[in-house]
Symmetry: C2
Subunit: 340 residues, 2 copies
Amino acid sequence: MVNIGDVARAAGVSRSTASYALSGKRTISAAVRARVEAAVAELGYTPNAGARALATSRTSVIALLGQFYEDEFAPAMLQYILGVTDRARELGYDTLFVSDADGSAALRRISDSRMADGFVLLNVAENDERLAALRAAPQPGALVGLPGDAAGVDAFDLDFVAAGRLMVERMHELGHREVVLVSQPEHVVERGGAYVWRLANAAADRAEELGVRLHRYYGASSQPAIGRDLNAFLDAHPAATGLLLNNEAAAAALPHVLQTRSLAVPDDMSVIGRYSDTFARTFSLPYSAIDSAPDLLGRRAVEHLVSRIDGTADADTHVVDLIAPVIDDRGSLAAPPSRH
Amino acid sequence: MVNIGDVARAAGVSRSTASYALSGKRTISAAVRARVEAAVAELGYTPNAGARALATSRTSVIALLGQFYEDEFAPAMLQYILGVTDRARELGYDTLFVSDADGSAALRRISDSRMADGFVLLNVAENDERLAALRAAPQPGALVGLPGDAAGVDAFDLDFVAAGRLMVERMHELGHREVVLVSQPEHVVERGGAYVWRLANAAADRAEELGVRLHRYYGASSQPAIGRDLNAFLDAHPAATGLLLNNEAAAAALPHVLQTRSLAVPDDMSVIGRYSDTFARTFSLPYSAIDSAPDLLGRRAVEHLVSRIDGTADADTHVVDLIAPVIDDRGSLAAPPSRH
DNA sequence: CTGAAAGCGCTTACAG
DNA sequence: CTGAAAGCGCTTACAG
């Protein structure tokens, strides 16, 4: 393969001059620069990534640590991944995608072998084991998901507290006084899925403040169980006029459940979901929903990570960036049916 | 960071001896080996990936090239990716995941900079532009998807011809004489989605041989359009008793459509789909279906790629590995309703 | 069985 | 404005 020595020879300059001409790190006469560039174009030179990494201690690679659970329905996972890889490329980085079950070990391996300049962690849990490994690593990291302790790292997530409040407030404004909240399954909570209880607790608190009765449930993460669950919850609360969903599978199953129960949206039942816009479009879910914005979160995490790698970001300050929830109106919200 | 010189010093040997002790590439006395291993453990030594790549011309990284289209419903894409990354790790490789819109340029970039030892291409089309770049690259490649010309590469795919035949044969065996085949949208075909016409043509040929009337359609790739499409196709062929689906969105929309039409499966209508098992489970799709096996295909592609990298695979022979279709029976197939 | 040295392909102080 | 040389951290012929 053609190396920088070949380029230098073709351009009639030294290797260091060729290198500087390409990096622009010192002033080079226009004539020399032109000759070097011509040589590069003619020979088809591309720097060897390993050699460059060895010389500079920079790889231009970020490592993306997924975290997948067998029993988890994570329809937006690919959207997070694409947000990260696309934005990384725009910023000049490639992405090493790591799906090892043992994320901590993988992080140490990548870190110790200097394969990446930084880490993006997906699906971060309340007490995420990977954080200890990340804090011990010399490379910076950015999280998608908010752990209990985000000290020393940058974290990006939807503001689930605000989301819970917003859902309840919107229902209250419309006149609803009794609503059901369907969360992810309990095993997601036990595993440290903090977004579940953040949203649920905030919704419950706000409901109490506003005088709204809120019934909290965990639902299964797949069909047909979630359909049965939804029916059971609605059976238990025939007076409920609003449904809040923090569970993608429930959203996907709901049209069928409501049809079976002969309930029209929003005339008989108002619905607010929380899921990604892509998910909504894929299944044409007709519910107003708070966009969980996986693409945006992935992009933000990468942007901030790169500013840390560059040293642009303030080393003493870490950010917790919670994006404000916005309800995409798809027409599933209205005043409750009048009781006669 | 601790390097092999530190290890050598701690063990009281030369750097080359330390290196050989770790690689096992020449015989080392038990005593020395033990001292080296102790030093490695004590110091926490991990080889620098860039330096090793520079010295060996091996990165232990494979590059995975996704190919995403805005208007494509690709629910199994993540399964392919995880099949690749998981199997790669088992074989000692990390995975660089590339989602660049311009796959050819990305492939050249990765290849020229020697960032990976080989390539896995996903979602390969009939005349995939990336193939020219792959053939020009010194690294080997494995395809998931079968292009028109697979010369010089290894290709892995579901046998869509056999799948088309199998669908028709099963319907015929059960006594069906008029069936509807719903394929992916025409734009998938125009883009080179060869699996669409391979399955459809094979099904049509086999239907003609067996005296089965087969009505071919393209359907939209998302709701609500695909629901309308399905209704229109069924309206057009009231005598059809079987439905063949080579379109995931159609499968997801079908339960609702059939319910609306008051058609019971399999009493009124027999159904065979073609989608991944994960997809079926996620939406609890109650249709017998040919598993498109994304995980398996990803794993096979990596296995073969690694054997090429190792030089284990026969350099003169390339494989086209089409996995035989198998119908997972979920009870959606029966004899057609008797006409009275 | 082990060591000294060259070399992989870059970048970047050091010198002019 | 440019060049010769050192060094990044490995591996592996070459020599003993």
